[in-house]
Amino acid sequence: MHGLRLTAWAVLAFLMVPILVIIPLSFNAEPYFTFTEGMLSLDADAYSLEWYAEIFNNEKWLLAIKNSFFIGLCATIIATALGTFAAIGLSNPVMPFQRVIMAMLLSPMIVPLIITAAGMYFFYTQLGLSGTYLGVILAHAALGTPFVIITVNAALSGFDHSLMRASLGLGAPPIYTFFNVIMPLIRPGVISGALFAFVTSFDEVVVILFLAGPEQRTIPRQMFSGLREQINPTILAVAVLLVVISGLMLLTIEYIRARGERIRSGEI
């Protein structure tokens, strides 16, 4: 048992150390990716906030931040709306070709991004959508939908479709039925699906590399070229900010999940 605990902690360290190590490095006063003598002897002068200041003084990074949030939010709205509806239809036992359609709708998650990106480059260029916000948003929305389907589908397990029919049969308009009968039951699934869809877009870089023009540069795209061309600790500062954002996302998801479990077990 002792050996097991040691192994488990070693694996946890392997998971966490690479993420934690960039935090002190991002406060490096020197323009390197390494710990300096001064940093190790905890000399205050060896640390600085200049790389964080650099992010907010650099137009490229500011544009990238703006783009990431704009593209991410637009893609999330499309993916969540379409994915939620589709999941409701797919969870209905009478749905024809359920398995085939499900496999097809989940395929954007499975197909390697390089293939998706190459295909989208060919196809979107023909439609005049490459190098436009619309093109990037549609591409990211398509990549996010599988996650919405999966989470909403899970929230719908045990959903009684006769509730919907009952509401409609009693004269409620379909929109009222959707927002007041279905939505309260699947809200946790919809929110976590939306978060997944947002993170998918927020993280995505391969499709951006092929499809986006200089105006649509996002944070990961900016990091990618930074890592390829000129490595400097601004990237580390951005990385730390992204870790903080992922931490917040994780907390939100866990809160929603715990709440959803309590709702299902009847505590709330």
Partner: protein, 424 residues
Amino acid sequence: MPQFDLTTNSNKVQSVLTVEEMAQSRKIQRRRKLIAFAFVTPLLVFVMIAFIAPIGTMLYRSVYNPTVAQLIPDTLEALSDWDESSDARPDDAVLNRFAVELRQLAIDRDSGKLAEEINRGLPGSSSVIKATGRKMKKMDPALLSSEGASLLIATKPQWQTVEIWRVMKKSGAIFTDSSYLTALDLDRNSDDEIVPRDTQVYIQLYLKSLKIALTITLLTALIGFPLSYYLATASPKTANTLMVFVLLPFWTSLLVRTTSWIALLQTNGVVNSVLQYLHVISEPIEMLYTEFATVIAMTHILLPFMILPLYSVMKGIDPSYLRAAMSLGAKPIPAFIRIYMPMTVPGLSAGALLVFIISIGYYITPALVGGTDGQMISNIIAFHMQSSNNWELAAALGSLLLALILLLYWIYDRLVGVSNIKLG
């Protein structure tokens, strides 16, 4: 009394319904199906246009190459009467027409495109075409249409050979399997037989990608298993707390994690410094930009995909099985291997397939930390898309990769069921 069966047996319900009622029931059933379908349709249409159509275009591009046909339509038309199996080059009339077309291409600065395409079929011909193009540019088109053949041959003797014309005619085909042949390291010889190429590139690369993906899968299983087991057997409070350490990396941007590995593995990086400080090594080891960097960074990135399904399966295993085996006299280790491990197979196979499917098509991490020997098949696809502009080959390589992934996806669906995928 059939009426009493109404609530218990739906088959009997039908038997007591009249014909009209049955028609009515079918109609309602159809209506429900339509409603369910109406919910799915918007997304289905969206995914068809935004995702399936692009993939279809890529498959199409792998056999469709109109470049040469668009560049020299006149020459190709003239070449269609020439028998490429003969030992004589096409007659002067064909060469004249080509000389005129090449002159126009050189003026439009398109002769480089033609050179690039023909060079793929006949290495070395690029300079022949470019040099001839520059010469033809200065000529009078009227002269070329009568004396083009001799002028071509005077510029470069290669125009006298049969080889270059064979390749020109072959490259002129709009639909071709040549990209697939290249992608599989095959070629057509002059007798139209399919033979292996002298230099094997892509098969090696596929095998290497498979090897890297398999290594990563094994590593994630090897180090994911003990952690999952520890989490599954720990108290719920400990497990929930420690789970954060698995989920935080899972939620962290993959660019961030790749950046971290660059910081860790570079020559003056953290790993080398620590090893030197501990006197394990005296000189820094080159770890970044190697296959090792690709494998370790991707193992880190994909580990949560192994742990999450494994953990959820292990949590459902009743520990009393193991206790029962041991109380019946089994030693702990054989009991663990023969009783507990088989029950974890569903989680292990789900995690392994997921990790394998994701890693086989990985692009970003190998591109950033892999150097030259840590590149995978995706990187060469990106290279042919962006640098060499050989889109047909990129599409053919992508299609083969897609076929492999879809096969694995199908197996995953059989084994695990795609609708059983859980997140977080």
